[in-house]
Symmetry: C2
Subunit: 286 residues, 2 copies
């Protein structure tokens, strides 16, 4: 990057991206940064299709590596979540070169499998935050703008308030983290404030995922848990009897993990940026 | 037991049991065993209610221990699945006495959390098979009859064909096993044929659960995986592109776990019995 235009590569390790996204996101970048508009390159793989996925596992892994290993890119931005990152994370980790370490990585939801793998591999600039396809949400321009100001300027206003550099942080969709526990992708979160959000799950599943996460001996070494938003919770039959905050507090009590309150993250346009690890606010990556 | 009537205690560690079950199950027992009808005692806790659960966590744990630790009972039979066993498994394991080791335990689905915990604790007669509330299914009398002939006589016809004593076996609902991985409830399944079934999940969730299970280093020590029935699969958007057998074969290939074909288990009336461990066909427990 070095004073020039930032170059951002968008890839889709999970589900296929909508074509609208590629049309709308660059306009936000131009409006926010008229004098130094970042170049946003949507890898053709974003539009590929293979059953559930944006191309088969090899195609998605190769696209990720195309961008991550290319010196000309400054950031790898996830097109969207959906499902599929866990299927190709191992191939990605096995194929990364030194150039990939000098980049920002930004995404959430299903992308958590790759964020975890990259963080575990010692990458310094991995963050949980909006994806390109968030442009399609109500208020999505704010979400995409937040992602861009993070990638371009490390803007403090983009950050979840607790992620201010005073403590190590990490954030995940709780189901996605649950499905990494006990696998080679599970990250070491000792001493981290762990933020967890959820979408479109029944309350008994939120309870079960939190049982799973808080019962893991390595997870019990976190500094504490903060609960992000749990949105579009599906009906529970019968009524569960506790809300998501009561459930999270229950599992914190049972596990001895400190309960640290609510986090400003979720599957919505307000989703703030959570850098993985001990982010130093004034340090740019390159 | 010793030649007299077998005494079976029914408890509900997860969701509340329907009152119909207590009316209908004893009639099946009388018809099958007119001369030595097993005594089936439904613990009052089966009908308790606390939000999602058949009583709160303490109530459900105490009921389980009431029966498990009572010398007069020969078997602990799960009323049904649902959700909740993981919430009280730790309290159960901490409260079991010697009397509990001389009993048969039978259930499936959510009960897998307790079956895993009991098996891990060295219990000899833990099995995956029909619950009392299966009486409400079409063909449910056959399922309940199978459970009874197993508990009373260890009838070979009740067994899943691979579970013939020639190899160690175990069986789980795949989501339930997934949610135990990396917790103190995860059982040691090295050398076991592991049978997995599922119900009411989308194909991408089946795929994700099998990623999770087959990526676990301890699970990779199983002798192989057999796939039970995956029923009432919910719509996948878009079409996933593989069926459950192709998905299971994919993850076996990726993980190096031998694929051993289909198992005769599932969330249905045909669900056969799978003892945990190396069951000796001619050995009765007591």
């Amino acid at each position: 990057m070095g004073g020039g235009r930032l170059k951002i590569g968008v890839v889709a390790p999970a589900s296929r991206m909508s074509a609208d996204v590629a049309a709308r996101v660059p306009a936000v970048a131009e409006r926010l940064f008229p004098d130094r508009t970042p170049e946003i390159v949507f890898h053709p793989q974003c539009f590929a299709s293979h059953g559930h996925f944006a191309g088969d596992d090899d195609t998605r892994a190769r696209a990720f590596l195309d961008v991550a290993n290319d010196e000309s890119y400054d950031a790898v931005w996830f097109a969207r979540g959906g499902y599929g990152s866990c299927r190709m994370a191992e191939a990605v980790i096995g194929g990364l070169t030194d150039a990939s370490r000098r980049k920002t990585y930004l995404g959430y939801s299903d992308a958590g499998a790759l964020l975890a793998a990259l963080y575990r591999a010692g990458f310094a600039a991995v963050a949980h935050g909006p994806v390109a396809q968030d442009i399609l949400r109500d208020g999505g321009e704010a979400a995409v703008g937040r992602a861009l100001t993070w990638m371009v300027d490390r803007a403090p206003a983009a950050l979840e308030p607790t992620a201010n550099g005073a403590t190590k942080t990490a954030a995940f969709n709780m189901t996605v983290l649950s499905q990494l526990l006990g696998t080679p992708l599970q990250p070491d979160l000792a001493g981290h404030v762990l933020m967890l959000e959820e979408v479109s799950e029944a309350m008994y599943r939120i309870d079960r995922a939190l049982f799973h996460i808080t019962s893991n001996a390595e997870i019990r070494r976190v500094a504490g848990i903060m609960l992000g938003r749990c949105s579009a919770i599906t009906p529970n039959d019968p009524e569960f009897g506790m809300n998501e905050e009561e459930v999270a507090q229950h599992w914190c009590r049972k596990s001895g993990i400190p309960w640290l309150g609510r986090a400003d993250i979720g599957h919505d346009a307000d989703n703030k940026i959570v850098p993985f690890g001990s982010y130093a606010p004034n340090a740019l990556v390159t």
